[in-house]
């Protein structure tokens, strides 16, 4: 008993790092609960992907096979995942708190009448969990009473699972659907085109804030540094709000949470809402002309300077370093 069912989200035919983190967290929780960790895959190319997932130390991989699961629509997936939890008798349903995890998991929880904790950063030995509240200004210890229960984990708080020698068995299940209750249609997906690493996967992130003043400056001033470092580009909420960059670059309480080896904050004042999304980065660099900016209180290296002068200089220095 005490089995953990991990929802293995995939994007464009592969598992992002955030999914391997869910598996890593699921394995940890299953050990604590004395149960098995089972992965569940659905949607396009699910068979192939299940084979891939089977290498990551799971007890079993379940493929959900049904035409209603082709697009990842919340009404269909809530039915299918609740059905799977019940069919397998799993104690915990777990996913990473990605946009898809946040969209689906509460709906599954409601279908099962199950308690849910979002964005969990630690599992305690007494079955309680820890999650941030108030943009990370408080850490809450929470008990979820009754089974099953639903948990989303923060991608930066757990290690990604690693492949092991033996492959888990794969089982195909066809969930039962109340087809009349499926009312949503997927019209299309407009992918953000970028050759850069993804924000949640990159080892270096360079983020810009309101200090950059315009979308053009993101392109002309910040992007050369981003690319010279082979980094992902991020932004503060203020920069997204001002329309300088798309929302999926937002780092912070209401955007993405990242913890790269190096985080460079350019023209970002460092409101608590932004710090919530990056303060667990290994090394933080802040470039800001206001020496009182709160970002300096979390930065390992702070440079008080005009970013329009400092950032091009940084690009040049990094280039020199690479050719040294």
């Amino acid at each position: 008993m005490g089995d953990v069912l991990v929802f293995a989200e995939h994007q464009e035919g592969h598992f992002p790092k955030t999914t391997l983190v869910a598996v890593g967290a699921g394995l940890e929780l299953a050990r604590k609960q004395g149960g098995a960790c089972v992965g569940v895959v659905a949607g396009a190319r699910a068979d192939e992907l299940a084979g891939e997932l089977a290498a990551y130390g799971l007890g079993k991989v379940v493929v959900l096979d049904h035409p209603a699961l082709t697009g990842r629509l919340a009404d269909a997936y809530a039915q299918a995942l609740a059905w799977t939890v019940s069919r397998l008798g799993a104690e915990t349903l777990l996913a990473t708190a990605t946009a898809a995890g946040k969209d689906l998991m509460p709906r599954v929880a409601a279908r099962m009448g199950a308690p849910m904790a979002a964005d969990v950063i630690a599992f305690n030995d007494d079955a309680s969990v820890v999650r941030p509240m108030y943009a990370g200004s408080a850490l809450a210890t929470v008990e979820l009473q009754g089974k099953p229960r639903v948990i989303t984990v923060r991608a930066t708080a757990f290690e990604a699972a690693k492949p092991v020698a033996s492959a888990a068995p794969v089982e195909k299940l066809t969930p039962e659907f109340d087809a009349a209750a499926l009312k949503m249609r997927l019209v299309g997906f407009n992918a953000t085109k970028s050759d850069r690493p993804q924000l949640t996967e990159a080892s270096i992130v360079v983020s810009g804030g309101r200090g950059l003043k315009s979308a053009e400056n993101f392109k002309e001033v910040l992007e050369p540094l981003v690319d010279e470092l082979g980094a992902a580009m991020g932004a503060s909420r203020a920069a997204v709000d001002a329309g300088f960059v798309p929302n999926d670059l937002q780092v912070g309480q209401t955007g993405k949470v990242v913890a790269p080896a190096l985080y460079v904050a350019v023209g970002i004042s460092g409101a608590i809402q932004h710090l919530a999304g990056m303060k667990d980065s290994k090394v933080i660099v802040a470039v800001n002309k206001d020496e009182e900016a709160p970002i300096f209180s979390v930065a390992d290296y702070g440079l008080v300077a005009d970013l329009f002068k400092a950032v091009p200089e940084m690009t040049t220095e990094v280039k020199k370093l690479k050719h040294a």
Partner: protein
């Protein structure tokens, strides 16, 4: 078209949050209370839908203490037609809130419910999705564009790695993300008018929803503080240190 908008009272985002020494909650002295910013975006969208269709009703609903009237009045001043405060003394978990809202929806029968994508106090991001499931309605979370044509609704959503478009028949639940719109300020005439608008209070117990808590908050602790490092004098020094000391480039 009748649109129901959920409202939560939260600390102003600019407030510094301090955890009480006994871990039972946060210090609320000197806290300025506001409408959850994403709920303001939800309300703005409802008002725009009403204006565009040239009619209908925008109803606010909150589940909280009598003090929450203040935020409902602000919402009425922005342009909502009336408000309902479901009075609940103790804090309810997300499932219970969704069950209470489902009861209100069954009474009010709106064509659309818009919630903020998350409340910025507990950061749960759950109630809209839970409500949609309980009602058996379609959901569109993290909406950045909403189009309504008759009883058909098309929503552009902020997904990982891009924008997803979904479509469904109404009624439905939509949760508002940052770029959906820029909320208006309450005008002076709006504030005057709001005083005369209906604000109905209902005791939560009278709705008959299952309120049994399943999520128990045991304690709050302040997070570990990250130490500030040092200031560097030049770009050259910075890049040098990142290479030779931090070894990250």
């Amino acid at each position: 078209m009748k649109v129901l908008v959920t409202v939560k009272r939260v600390p102003d985002p600019a407030t510094t949050i301090r955890v009480l020494p006994d871990g039972s909650g946060i210090a609320t002295d000197n806290v300025k209370w506001v409408i959850n910013p994403f709920d303001e975006i939800a309300l703005e969208e409802a008002l725009r839908i009403k204006e565009k269709l040239g009619g209908g009703e925008v109803v606010l609903v909150a589940v909280g203490e009598p003090s929450w009237q203040e935020q409902l009045r602000t919402g009425l001043a922005m342009g909502a037609d009336r408000a309902i405060l479901i009075r609940a003394a103790a804090a309810l978990d997300t499932l219970a809130i969704a069950r209470v809202l489902a009861k209100v929806v069954n009474d009010e029968k709106p064509d659309l419910v818009i919630t903020g994508k998350q409340a910025i106090d507990d950061d749960s991001n759950q109630v809209g999705q839970m409500l949609a499931e309980m009602l058996g309605w379609p959901q569109a979370t993290f909406a950045s564009k909403v189009e309504i044509s008759g009883t058909e609704c098309t929503v552009v959503r902020e997904a990982d790695g891009g924008l997803e478009t979904v479509a469904f028949p109404l009624p439905a639940v939509i949760t508002a993300d940052l770029r959906l719109n820029e909320p208006r300020y309450a005008s002076l005439p709006g504030i005057m008018k709001a005083r005369k608008k209906e604000l109905k209070e209902i005791a939560v117990e009278s709705l008959g929803a299952d309120l049994a808590p399943k999520v128990k908050l045991r304690t709050l602790t302040p997070p570990a503080k990250r130490q500030a490092g040092r200031k560097v004098a030049s770009v050259e020094e910075l890049v040098g240190l990142l290479h030779s000391e931090a070894k990250v480039i």
